[in-house]
Symmetry: C2
C-alpha cells in the first residue's frame, strides 16, 4: 500500500491503460502512413482522425478541429469568444482549471448552482432575466468534474432554449461521455441543437486512450472552427501528428472500444468499493454515486473545515482536492474524490484513512 | 517528376526521415516507460528528455522547458516578454510566422538588415543609440530562415554586449543548428552568455527527427522558464508525453546522430545541385551558398517583380516563397528557395522551370 493514497488526480491508473494496444497502434501509424505521421499537418488536425471524428459526431470535417489535448481547445475557444469583462456562466462547483482560465482572461464568472441532475436552469433563467448577458455557458454535462453529476435530458433542452433566447454559446465540455458504466446514454446538446450553431462541443482521448497522448478536439459551427484553426496555425502550425496518427489507428483497430470496456468495468467496481467504504467508515458523508466518469463529490456535516481535514488527511496518508478549489466561495464542508487512479484495494484503505482523519478533527462530533 | 516542384516548404522530404528508427523508438517508449509515456506529465516536459536536453546544453533542468514544437515556445515567450507597443528587433528579412506573431501582439517591429555574416550590429547599435529600447531581439543565428546566412562569432559577441548594455533579451531561435554540412560549428549565444540571463534559446526536433513529432524546447533563466511553465500549465497541462518519450528514446538510442548524418549528407548534395543549376540556368541570380539548414536566399536583378515571377513560376510548374513575405517592405527582386523537401533530380528540373519562368517575364532582359 502506498504511503499516500491519492484521490486527488483525475487520471487513470496504469492498469486500465492499453499499453500494448498503443504500441501496436504506433507501429501501424509509421507503417501505414509514414508521410502523414511524420510531416507537418495543418492546424485542423490529422486528416483521417478529423474525418473519423466528423463521422462519429454526424457532422462535416469542417466542423471539427483536433488539438493538443482538450484544455488547449478550451483555451482557443476562450480566446476566441471571451473578452475581458464578458459574463460567462459556469457550474457551481466546476473544474478548477476552467475557473482559473476564465478569471485569467478577466471574465465576469457567474456560477450557477449544480444539482445532481445538472445546472439549475431556473436559477440561470432568473440570472438572464435580471439582465446578465453571457457570451458563453461552460457546461460539463456527463459525470461532471468535480461533482460526478449528469445533466438530465430535460435540462439539456432547457439550456438550449435559453441559449437560443438569450444568444449565448453553450460550451459542452464532454471528456467523460464514453465512460458511462450505468444508466442510459443521453444525447449531447450538440446533437439536440441540430446544427443551429448554439453549441461548441469539446472532448478528448485522455480518458479513453491515455492522457499522455494529449489529443482533444472541438466540434462546432464551421466559422467558429475556422477562426480557431487560424489561432492554432499561429500558435503551433499543427497539433501533434504522430500522436493523432496513433490515436486514429487505435480507434479504427478496435483498441478504443476495448479500452472503454476496460475502463468502465474497472471504474464501476471502484465506485462500488468507494460508496461501500464510505457508508461503512464515514456514514456522515453524503454523496450521489456517479453513473460514470472519474469523480465523486462528498459533503460532510456543516461546520466541517475541509482545509483542516485536508491537512489531517495528509498526516493519515490520504489526499483529495478540497471542494473550495472548485468554487469562488463556500464549499468548506465538501471535497472531490477521484477514483480513476486508485485500484479497489487502495480505495478501501484510503477511505479508512480519510475516516480516521475526519475523526481526528477537533470539530467532529 | 511532379506537376509542381516545390521550393516553398521548409520541411524534409520523406526519404530523409528515419521512419523505422521512429517506429523502434515508439516501441521502446511503451516498453521502457509505459507509465511516464501514457500519463499526464507537467508543463516542463517529459522528465528524461528535459534532463537530456539540460545536459546537452550544459544547464540545469530548471533552465529547460519542452513544448509542442518550437513555435509554441515562441508564442509563450512572446506572451511573456512582449506587450503591445514594445519594440522588438528582428532580422531583415526574417521568418514570416515570427513577423505575423509579433504584429499580432501589437509589437513595434524593428527590422535590422541581415548580411551574409548575420544581423548588422552597427545598424542595431545606431537604432539603440537613437533611443529605441527593445524588450527582445529575435535572432536566427544559424542558416537563417529565410536567408540561409549564419551569424559570425564576432557578431554573436557584439549582440551580447548590446543586450547587456541596453537591457534587452536575445531570443536565439536555433532550429537548424545541427544541420551544418560545411564550415565550423560556432558557439551559441546561450553558451557565450555564460548564464548571465541575456539569452533565451529555442530549438526543436523538427529538423532532426521529423516535424510531425512536434517537440521543441526553450532554454533560459530559471525564473523565465518558470513563468512560461505556468502559462503552459494553464494552456495544456503538459506537452505531448508520447511524442517526447519517442524523441527521448530516438536520441539516446543513437537515432538522432544517424538522422542528422543522413539529413546533412542529403542537403549538402541538394545545395550543390541547386547552386550548379542556378549558375547554369539562371546566372542572373545571386546568392550565398548556405553552410547548413534548409534555405537559400536568391536575389534577381533590380527591377524584377517577384510577384510576377511567382505567377509565371506557377504556370511553369515550380513554386517558392516570395522575398516580400519575409519583409515589412521591399524585397521585390528576392525569393526564398527551400531545398529540404526536394530530392536532387527535382532540384535540377525545378531550377530549369524557374529559369524558364524568369525568361518569360516582360521585364527580363
Amino acid at each position: 500500500m502506498p504511503d499516500t493514497i491519492s484521490f486527488a488526480r483525475g487520471a487513470p491508473s496504469l492498469d486500465i491503460v492499453d499499453v500494448e494496444g498503443l504500441k501496436a497502434a504506433a507501429a501501424a501509424a509509421f507503417d501505414e502512413d509514414a508521410a502523414g505521421t511524420t510531416a507537418y499537418g495543418t492546424s485542423v488536425g490529422y486528416v483521417p482522425l478529423r474525418n473519423w471524428l466528423a463521422e462519429r459526431h454526424g457532422v462535416q470535417p469542417e466542423n471539427v478541429l483536433v488539438t493538443n489535448g482538450s484544455m488547449q481547445a478550451d483555451a482557443f475557444l476562450f480566446d476566441e469568444l471571451v473578452s475581458s469583462g464578458d459574463a460567462v456562466i459556469v457550474e457551481k462547483p466546476t473544474y478548477d482549471r476552467t475557473l482559473l482560465s476564465l478569471k485569467g482572461r478577466g471574465a465576469d464568472v457567474r456560477m450557477v448552482s449544480l444539482a445532481s441532475d445538472g445546472i439549475d436552469t431556473d436559477e440561470l433563467r432568473a440570472l438572464l432575466e435580471s439582465g446578465v448577458r453571457p457570451t458563453l455557458a461552460h457546461i460539463i454535462p456527463n459525470f461532471q468534474n468535480p461533482a460526478g453529476y449528469t445533466l438530465s435530458l430535460e435540462k439539456r433542452h432547457a439550456l438550449l432554449a435559453l441559449a437560443a433566447e438569450y444568444g449565448f454559446t453553450i460550451f459542452e465540455d464532454d471528456p467523460y461521455v464514453a465512460i458511462r458504466f450505468t444508466g442510459e446514454q443521453l444525447p449531447t446538446m450538440l446533437e439536440l441543437d441540430e446544427g443551429k450553431g448554439n453549441v461548441v462541443y469539446a472532448s478528448s482521448f485522455s480518458k479513453t486512450v491515455c492522457p499522455g497522448i494529449r489529443v482533444g478536439y472541438l466540434v462546432g459551427a464551421a466559422d467558429t472552427i475556422k477562426a480557431i484553426a487560424g489561432r492554432a496555425t499561429n500558435t503551433y502550425i499543427s497539433p501533434n501528428q504522430v500522436a493523432q496518427s496513433i490515436v486514429y489507428r487505435f480507434c479504427v483497430g478496435g483498441g478504443l472500444d476495448r479500452s472503454i470496456a476496460t475502463v468502465k468495468a474497472a471504474l464501476a467496481e471502484r465506485v462500488a468499493a468507494l460508496t461501500a467504504a464510505l457508508d461503512r467508515e464515514l456514514p456522515e458523508a453524503s454523496y450521489v454515486a456517479p453513473e460514470g466518469g472519474y469523480f465523486m463529490w462528498v459533503s460532510l456535516p456543516e461546520g466541517t473545515d475541509v482545509a483542516q481535514l485536508f491537512t489531517a488527511a495528509g498526516e493519515h496518508g490520504v489526499t483529495f482536492v478540497k471542494g473550495t478549489d472548485f468554487l469562488l466561495e463556500g464549499g468548506e464542508n465538501t471535497l472531490r474524490l477521484a477514483y480513476s487512479g486508485t485500484p479497489v484495494a487502495q480505495v478501501e484503505e484510503g477511505i479508512k484513512r480519510l475516516a480516521a482523519a475526519y475523526r481526528s478533527l477537533p470539530a467532529a462530533v
